[in-house]
Symmetry: C4
Subunit: 323 residues, 4 copies
């Protein structure tokens, strides 16, 4: 983690992309203690820090050790979102994953990932009812769920009932934006993963990249939540006001389902005993790294979310070799 004195936040702002070339960080021999002890607001999150966060698995651990994750996603026409999030979740360390979907979507999950369990919503087509939450160690909601009235009600109930941090993405964020008072009721340490469009709706107005990051910090601090603002350099704001800027990823990831995958990775890490801070930060890094590694066999045009998911293991492994 490099405090931002070493680089400059400016370099990561989309507004000035056209005038900034590639950024290289030179070692100017600052004393390590100085770096560690400097309470920087902005830190550049690099492989070394991600590697430190990654946990070793004890030999005698078992699938219970790594928790049971619940993925609430999908709706008529958008079932794939639930699958991508579930698959990424299982590929990121969860011991068990259950997808909660409308009955129409259940076969697509069964057909494409036998390791998943599937829980049927009472609705055929979308998210309207809650499963028994007590069985789960991590919960994400949002990819592909749409914004029907019943789904809005179900999401409200989920926020009320959840006793653990939630991961909220996509339409869950759009619903939040329509109901901004709910933010204050989110379980402490919940993680929100908006893309810039979703964040604008959350923030209530279209902001510059620089303004967005300030607003992001403000919402995080006010509500005690993590916000991962996705983009070329994703920024992750903590409840204490600090911000990590991500160092991985590429423009080939501007493709359907990439966000669903990130949601799944965070949830998989949460299920397997990572703290919300660690889960959000490590997932952000691993997601981008997986996208970078997937490019080896693809091009920026051809890269799709499934390619990234199949490289999650390689991305984790790449951290084994960081000095």
């Amino acid at each position: 983690m490099l405090p931002f004195q070493l680089t400059i936040l400016l370099f990561f702002l989309s507004e000035i992309e056209s005038v900034v070339g590639a950024v290289h960080i030179l070692d100017i021999a600052l004393h390590p203690d100085f770096i560690q002890n400097t309470e920087a607001v902005f830190n550049y999150f690099v492989a070394g820090e991600a590697a430190t966060m990654r946990k070793t698995r004890p030999v005698y651990s078992h699938k219970g050790t790594y928790g049971h994750a619940l993925v609430i996603g999908g709706a008529h026409g958008k079932w794939g979102a639930a699958l991508l999030a579930s698959r990424a979740c299982l590929r990121s360390g969860a011991g068990l994953v259950t997808a909660h979907v409308g009955a129409e979507g259940a076969p697509f999950l069964h057909n494409t990932m036998p390791e998943l369990m599937v829980h049927h919503d009472k609705s055929n087509s979308h998210f309207t009812t809650l499963p028994d939450l007590s069985e789960y160690d991590a919960i994400c909601v949002g990819p592909g769920i749409g914004q029907s009235e019943e789904t809005v009600r179900a999401l409200k109930l989920l926020i009320q009932e959840a006793k653990i941090p939630l991961v909220l993405d996509a339409d869950a964020l759009n619903i939040l934006a329509d109901n901004p008072t709910w933010l204050a009721f989110l379980p402490k340490d919940s993680i929100l993963t908006p893309h810039p469009g979703e964040f604008s709706r959350l923030a209530g107005s279209k902001l510059s990249h620089f303004e967005s990051i300030e607003k992001q910090r403000e919402i995080s601090q006010k509500n005690g939540i993590y916000i991962l603002l996705k983009g070329a350099h994703s920024s992750l704001s903590f409840p204490d006001g600090r911000v990590l800027i991500n160092s991985t990823g590429n423009p080939g990831m501007a493709s359907a389902g990439m966000g669903d995958s990130l949601t799944g990775i965070i949830t998989g890490l949460l299920a397997s005993q990572y703290s919300p801070l660690e889960a959000a930060a490590l997932a952000m890094f691993v997601h981008g790294r997986a996208g970078d590694l997937a490019l080896k066999n693809h091009s920026v045009e051809s890269l799709i979310a499934s390619d990234l998911i199949e490289n999650i293991g390689n991305a984790f492994e790449s951290l084994s070799h960081v000095k």
Copy 2:
């Protein structure tokens, strides 16, 4: 792009295949200015030109930058055509892809490509109704749609309503051939991708290869559209009368679904901000190159469209190394 003075159109005509061996183009040191400034009607489209057309992705682009493509395809018994076109489209740079299919076909798309969104036609079995076209940046229609009366009407409506160039293939072309007056109503710069049989129907009579190319130019110019006549050396005619002859591809591509894949690639490029000229030309090249690269792990007998689609990324990447 080599003007055809350098090779000879004759060499690429199927009628004389038996008497022409492999064609090698020798550099006779024509001055580059001469080549560039010569207004050749026929040009041989090679890797260097394709590489020039390929766009770099800006770092701060996102999935909205690359557009939302609509694929209208499939009918009872032929749903795979919609999948192949959609998959090729997403593998060719579209940010989002929605497949519009009869309800019977929706599960097959959900089961095989979670990155897709699926929009249901009111008919269970075939294309009869239009989705809201305003959401889409590129639209293709035709693979596997059949020629039922309702589909004919829906296609007519699509041609009337579309405000952007359409990509028309397969049964959409057969319907056009039955309704030749519609040609004049196609959105400007639409792209038609007939194989020789479909082109004969469009042209109204069976023609020699040479006559076909002349007729192809004529229809393009008269209607302000691009026509990509598929074959061993595909020819792409422009509204201004020029013709590109393709330099990639192999006889292993004489297999089901290869045309659907091409349609998808063109549409993916259109969605991601390529002009119709660029989309048609680059897709033609990349499609053949992907087929050539796929052959490395297959034989001319075993090659199938899915193999080609999985090599689209390699085909794009191969353009990175063109000097």
Copy 3:
């Protein structure tokens, strides 16, 4: 093709496996003319001969050149047989493949191979009605069809109506065994692919391997058909009494669906303009070779039919390097 003077039929008989070690064929410098001109009944079919049979694809060929194959297979609980045969067929050179199945089975084909077209039987669960046969250049029937009364009638009708050689396998052979008079009505040059159990039923009694081969020749000659008796050393008998003994394959191929794959390969070659003799012989070789090549990434225990099918291209390619 080595006439059997060079090896000895005995070596290939299962009865004496325990006393025969590995067979190596030494070159004793027989004059090639002698070998070629010797009218041997039994010939050992090796890579050189298979390579000679393989056809080059002309540059200007297209998917029509390689024909449209019809695969009639599958029934309730056994739909995979139709898929394996269809997939092997498309991987073996057919330009188009249509699978004719009960409606219950159609989704499984659509979900797993988008390149296929699917034609629905009037029955939901099994083969009872014929599609229009005039559209097809090659037809196989049998894998997984069961032996219901309606299927027996449909098979009889198929044999009556077919104007081209049929490929018959599995339950089609069991039905033939129950109706031995039908043998005489098979289209000339049809190809039967029994395993030893099916052949015993066809022959009307359990025979030794040696007796089987004699009986196989007799049935072939009497009915003007090819019989490919599957086994460790498959034997292919011609209508003129000659027999080829296959040189490829391994015990890992003793697994579900391997026969369905062979049926598909034969049909793919027939569709793409191979004669029945060439299609049966080359398919026999390629099938075993594909199984051998698939073993490189598997073990005899783990090998499954899908692995073999994915190596059909490698098997064909291996013939490019035969001197």
Copy 4:
């Protein structure tokens, strides 16, 4: 197989993991005869012993030689368990595999593994009726079946009717735990594969690892069955009181469906003429080895059961190179 004098059971007990480092076995030059003739209760099961157990396939074997396996698994929401067990079974040498599932689950099996045959239970959603058992050479039951009243009755009937050893896993074990008197009625040499939680229920109380192994031996001896207690070092107890401790596997295998895969491997070996002792021991080793080999392209976080299954062949092959 190393008698446990050479290592120490203690080293493999989870209770003391924190104080034991990596265990290396030094060769102290005990005479081989001493090792072989020592009647050790505990033996460490290593590659050399596994390699000795593995059978060579005779050239003239065929799919009948390797038997027909029946997999009874899956229920509403948990159909993937049936697929994983069936797939592992076919990848472990069974000639034919039939999955017996509720009708709701049948499509998922057909869609994902065409080599399988599927038999429908009379219930749509779970296991309630028996197929004709006489057709099968090996039977496993349990993965994902749930514990509904009807399933309990069906399992009881299966235990009564089966004339061959059964493989029982997952919910079949939970049902056994609720009905401990049934243990005595299990077919001789049946194989139970509990994880520690399931074993605790079977044993009637939560036990330390050391106590579990003692209890495991006791139940095996009393009921004439094999028990494979899964964990970091799986232990396999024989009816005669001996115990094998497994030497393969890794913490990445703490993931959904890994147990289902093991059940399938045992059943595949049983079908293909391995004795229950050999099937249980070799499957235990191969399962862990396949998991170890799968890690080469994955990380402990990303490893899923399907990865392991795709490495079963590599695991078997690794035994070819053991001296």
